[in-house]
Symmetry: C2
Subunit: 591 residues, 2 copies
C-alpha cells in the first residue's frame, strides 16, 4: 500500500528562500512568517497523511455508486469530508467577508498540493466548490454572494461546473442547453450536461451547479452563452433548503481513474436557475472558474507525480535486486537495493527534478496571481495568463509520464493494483484531458496568449530570464545553470520568431508546433526555476545555517535537470520549426 | 465500442515490396507468393475481426475469476479458443514434425500482429504456449518432444513460463524454488512463482509449465538454475492425462489491464517435473523462450498502438468540433471534424508513422530470425540478437505512448471505459514491464549486446545503414530520407564512441545512457525502415501499377517521421552523453 508525506520542507524553501514571500510587498504576504507557514503546512500535512491518504486506495477500489437516482461516495468519504470541512481548509484563500480565511493563494497552493497528493479524487469535491465560489464571487450580485458563498466556503454546500454536452466539449458554441427567462429574474434550464465532476454525492446538503446555457433568441454560437446558478435544492431568502430543483443525475461514468469522484451525467428539466453575470457573457464568467481550475489541474499533475515518486523511492531502497556494477553496496544482503542501478536512478531523478522544479513554477505562478489580485499588477496578470496553459499542459503531460516511470520502478508489482502505483497513473491521466485537453492549452498559448497585448507578456517573460541571467552572470557557481538556461531560452525565442514569420502566411505552421511550443515554455520555465533555486540554495550554503544537505542536494538535483532533462528543448525546437507541411499533407481519407 | 481491422495491405507491402520475401533465398520463403500470403493474411484478418476483437472489451470488463482453486476465463473465451485452435493458427510457424505448419516466422509475425491487435489478453494463452513449445523443441530430448509438442502445437495443451518469485524478478539468482532429484530422472519441485501469465484457466485440457528451479547442492546464484517441465496433470507414455500434479493456483492478480488473461500465483508442492536441457543450464534454455517472448511483447506494443490508432482516426473523422483555421471544411455541418486541426493530426501522424515503421522493423527482424534458423546465418542472428532489446523496449515504450495519444484524441470520452480507449493504454502498459522491464532491455543492449563478438554486430548495423545510403545517394527523391537518416546514425555512432571511451573507466557512464541509447537505436532503425519503404514506394509509383495512392501516402507518412519524429535523437544523444555524474551524485538517503 502506498504512503504519502507532504513535501512541507520543500514548500517552505520555495516560500521563504526562493519567493521570499514576506518581502514580496503583496498585501497579506507580510504575515507569512516562516513560523506561521510552517504551522499551516504541518497541520495540512497531518490531514493529508492521516485523513485523506488512507482513503485513496479505498476510493479507487470501491468507487462511487448510483442507485435509484442517488449517488454515494466510497465508504469513509463522508466522515472524512466532515472533518476536512470542519478544519476550514477549503476556504483558506477565500474572501473573509464570505466565509473564507483570506490567506494568499500562494499558501493555498502549497497546501493544495499536499491534499491532492494524498487523495486527488476526494479533494476534487472541494476543488470544484472553490472554483464555483470564485466565479460567483467575481461575477455575482451582492445578494448572490451573500446567499451562496458562505455555505460554499465551508463546504456545507458544494459546487460544480457544467460545460460539456454529449456532442460538444471544446466547441461550446454548439451547446443546446436552454435557459428560458421567467420574467421574475429566474430562468428555466433544460438540457443535458456530461462529465460533471463531483456532480452529485452524499457529502453536502446542497450542490450548487454553475451551468452554461443559451437564452433563446440570443446570438448564435459561443456569443450566446450565459452562465446560471442552479442549486440541487431550492434555497429561500433565509438560506433554508427547500424542495428539490429540476436537476437529476442520469448516470455516473465508469472511468479509467479518479473512481472516488462521481462524474455525472446531469439532466436539467425546467430547473430554476439564476443568471450569473451578464446575459450572453457566460464564457467570461466561466473563464474565471476555468483559469483557476486549470491551475488546480496543473497541481494535480504535480501532486500525482510527487506521490508516485515517494513510493518509487521507498521501493527502490527496499527491493534487493542485482548488484551495483561499480562494487557491491549491500555485502550482507543477497543483492543490492534497486536504487544503486543507473537506470532506476534516471527515473527517480527525472521525477525528483521535475517535481521540485514544477512545485516552484506552480507557487511562483500562484504568487503572480496574488500580485495581480492584491496589487492590481497587470504585468503579473499578463505573465500568469500567458503561462496558465503552460502550467496546465506541461505539468499534467510530464506529471503523468512521471507516474508511469514510478510504476516502472516497481517492475511487475507496478502493474498489480494492490501495490497502488497503477492508481497514480490512472488518476493522473485525466489531468491531461479535462479543463481543456492539453492540445487546447497549446492552442490557447500559441493562438491567443502569445499575441495578447501585442506580445507584451512574451517579451516580459524573456526579459525576466535575461535579467536573471545578466544579474548573475559573474556568479561562477551558477554557470551550470545559466548557460543551459540561456541556450534553451534562445531556442524558444527562435521558435517564437519562426511562428511569427510563418504563422501569418499559414496559421497551421504555428499551430502544428503548438504542443512543442508549450513544452518548450515548460522546460525553459523549469530551467529558470532551477537556476533561481540554485541561487537560493547557494545563499543558504553561504549562510552556514539551516540544513546544509538540503541545499547541496537541491543544487545536485537542479544540475540533473539542466543536464539531462532540459535537452528535450532540442527535440521540441526541431519539431516546432518543421512546419505543417508533412503534418497536413495526407487527405483525411488516407488515414 | 472500438473496432479493429488487420493491416493486411501494409503487411503485404512489407513482405513483397520491402523485404521481397520470395527472392530472399531463405528455405520456405519461395512459397510466399503474394497470392498465398494474401490468402493467409485475409483469413487471419477475419479471425481477428470476427472472433477475437468482439471479446476484447468483454475480457477487460469481466476479467478472469478464481473460485475454489479454479480459474475461469471471461465469458466467450472458451468457445473462441476452440475455434482459434481448430484453425491451427498458433502452430503456423512451428515444426511440422511436431504438429506445426512450418511457415516462416516472418509470416507468423504479420498474422500475430492482427491477433494481438484484436485481443491481446486472449492471444497470450497461445503466445505463452508457443514460447514453451520453442524451448522444449530446442532443448528437449526426442521423447520429450514427441510427448509434449504435438498437443501444444494445436493448443490442446497450453504452456507457461515460470521465472519470477515474490522476492526476485530480474535477479533470478535469488530464486528459492527447489528441485529434488528422485533418482528416476524426475524431480520434485517445490516453491512459489508469481506473475505467471496464462498460468491456469479453463481453455485447455492440460497446462505445461516450464519452471526454473534450483537443484540442491548445485552452484550458487544464477549458475545453479535449471529448467523443468511440470504438467498440471500427469501424462502417461501414451499421452493420456492422469492425476493432478502437485501444482495449484494460489490466487490471480488484480491488474491494471490484460484482465482477460489470468496472471497466477503458482504454488509447487512436491510437483513432479522433468529436466529440460542440462542441469544448471536453465537460463540458457529459458532464453530461447525469452528471446521469442521479447519479440512477441514488442509486437504487442505495436499492435495496441495500431488498434488505438484506428479508433482515434474514426473518432477524429466523426466528431465535429471547432473549425479549420484555414477555412471551413464542413460548411453544411455545425463544425468541422477533429481531423482538420493540426494538433489532432500531429497525434494521428505520430501514431501512423510509428506503426508503419515499427511494423517494417518487426517483420524485418523476424526475417533475420528466419535467416538465422533456416540459412544458419550467423550475421543475421547477430543483428537480431543486438536488436531484440531495441524492438522490445522501443516498440513497447513508444507503443504505450501512442495508445495514450490515441486516448487524447477522444478528449473526455477517452477516459470513459465504455469507449474502450483506456483499455488499449492499460493493456499496452504491461508490455513495458514483462519479459524484462525496459530498463533491463537497455542494460542488455548496452552491457551485453553492443560488445557481443567484439562489437561486430553494431558495426554490421552501421554498415547496413551506410551501404543503403551510399547505394541510393544519387536518388534525389530519397534525399529527404537519406539526409536525416545519415545525421541520426552519426549521432548514434557518437554515442557509441562516448560509451566506449567512458564506459571502461566508469561503467555507469554508459549505463546512465542506456535507455537513451535504446531509443536512439529505435529511431535510427525506424529511420532506416522508412528510407527503405520510401524507395519501395517510389519503385511502386514508377511501375505505374498497384495502388498509386498507397505509395504516395507511404512517402508522405515517412517524411513526417523523418521530419517530426526523428529529431528525438537530438534529445537522446545529449542525454546519453551527459554521463552519470549528476544521475548518481545524490546519496540514497537524500531521495
Amino acid at each position: 500500500m502506498p504512503s504519502y508525506t507532504a513535501p512541507t520542507k520543500d514548500a517552505a524553501f520555495i516560500l521563504h528562500e526562493l519567493l521570499k514571500v514576506q518581502d514580496a510587498q503583496i498585501p497579506g504576504f507580510e504575515e507569512l512568517s516562516a513560523d506561521f507557514t510552517s504551522a499551516v503546512l504541518e497541520e495540512a500535512s497531518k490531514i493529508a497523511t492521516n485523513l485523506l491518504q488512507p482513503l485513496n486506495a479505498v476510493g479507487d477500489h470501491d468507487g462511487c455508486t448510483f442507485e435509484n437516482g442517488v449517488v454515494r461516495t466510497p465508504k469513509g468519504f463522508k466522515e472524512a469530508f466532515e472533518e476536512y470541512r470542519a478544519g476550514g481548509w477549503n476556504g483558506l484563500d477565500l474572501d473573509p467577508e464570505y466565509g473564507g480565511q483570506g490567506m494568499p493563494y500562494t499558501l493555498a497552493t502549497a497546501v493544495g498540493e499536499s491534499f491532492s497528493g494524498a487523495n486527488m479524487a476526494f479533494v476534487m469535491y472541494g476543488g470544484l466548490t472553490h472554483g464555483a465560489y470564485s466565479a460567483i464571487h467575481a461575477h455575482g450580485t451582492d445578494d448572490q454572494k451573500s446567499k451562496w458563498l458562505p455555505k460554499m466556503a465551508d463546504l456545507e454546500w458544494t459546487g460544480t461546473m457544467n460545460l460539456t454536452e454529449p456532442h460538444c466539449g471544446t466547441d461550446l458554441g454548439l451547446m443546446r442547453t436552454k435557459a428560458e427567462p421567467q420574467g421574475d429574474g429566474s430562468y428555466k434550464i433544460s438540457g443535458q450536461k456530461i462529465f460533471i465532476s463531483a456532480g452529485d454525492h452524499d457529502l453536502s446538503d446542497n450542490v450548487i451547479h454553475l451551468v452554461l446555457a443559451k437564452i433563446p433568441g440570443g446570438p448564435e454560437g459561443i456569443k450566446g452563452v450565459s452562465l446560471f446558478i442552479v442549486p440541487k435544492f431550492m434555497v429561500d431568502d433565509e438560506g433554508n433548503i427547500g424542495e428539490r430543483n429540476g436537476v437529476s443525475v442520469g448516470n455516473i461514468e465508469e472511468k479509467m481513474g479518479i473512481h472516488g469522484n462521481a462524474t455525472c451525467v446531469m439532466n436539467y428539466d425546467d430547473a430554476t436557475g439564476y443568471l450569473l453575470g451578464e446575459e450572453n457573457k457566460g464564457m467570461r464568467a466561466m473563464f474565471t472558474m476555468m483559469n483557476e481550475a486549470r491551475l488546480g489541474v496543473a497541481l494535480q499533475g504535480l501532486s500525482q507525480s510527487e506521490a508516485a515518486y515517494q513510493n518509487a523511492v521507498i521501493y527502490a531502497k527496499d527491493r534487493l535486486q542485482g548488484r551495483d556494477v561499480t562494487g557491491v553496496k549491500n555485502p550482507n544482503g543477497p543483492a543490492d537495493p534497486l536504487i544503486v542501478h543507473p537506470d532506476i536512478r534516471r527515473m527517480l531523478m527525472n521525477m525528483k527534478s521535475f517535481n521540485e522544479g514544477a512545485r516552484a513554477f506552480m507557487m511562483w505562478g500562484a504568487m503572480m496571481l496574488d500580485k495581480a489580485h492584491h496589487n492590481d499588477d497587470k504585468d503579473a496578470l499578463g505573465l500568469i495568463s500567458l503561462l496558465t496553459p503552460v502550467l496546465k499542459g506541461f505539468l499534467t503531460d510530464v506529471g503523468f509520464d512521471m507516474t508511469v516511470q514510478a510504476q516502472q520502478v516497481y517492475g511487475g508489482h507496478g502493474y498489480i493494483e494492490e501495490w497502488g502505483m497503477s492508481q497514480f497513473a490512472r488518476d493522473a491521466r485525466i489531468a491531461m484531458i479535462y479543463e481543456g485537453a492539453n492540445g487546447v492549452q497549446a492552442l490557447d498559448l500559441v493562438g491567443r496568449k502569445m499575441a495578447q497585448d501585442g506580445g507584451k507578456h512574451v517579451m516580459a517573460y524573456f526579459d525576466m530570464i535575461k535579467t536573471f541571467i545578466s544579474e548573475n552572470k559573474d556568479n561562477e557557481e551558477l554557470a551550470d545553470f545559466l548557460n543551459p538556461l540561456k541556450d534553451a531560452s534562445k531556442d524558444l525565442q527562435e521558435v517564437m520568431m519562426y511562428f511569427m514569420q510563418n504563422g501569418m502566411k499559414d496559421p497551421n505552421s504555428a499551430l502544428a508546433g503548438s504542443t512543442d511550443a508549450l513544452h518548450l515554455f515548460g522546460h525553459v520555465s523549469l530551467g529558470l526555476m532551477w537556476a533561481q533555486m540554485a541561487k537560493a540554495a547557494l545563499a543558504g550554503m553561504a549562510s552556514g545555517e539551516g540544513d546544509q544537505d538540503f541545499y547541496k542536494n537541491k543544487i545536485t538535483t537542479g544540475k540533473y535537470y539542466m543536464d539531462r532533462v532540459l535537452p528535450a528543448v532540442k527535440m521540441h525546437k526541431a519539431r516546432a520549426m518543421a512546419g505543417a507541411e508533412t503534418m497536413m499533407a495526407l487527405d483525411a481519407d488516407h488515414f
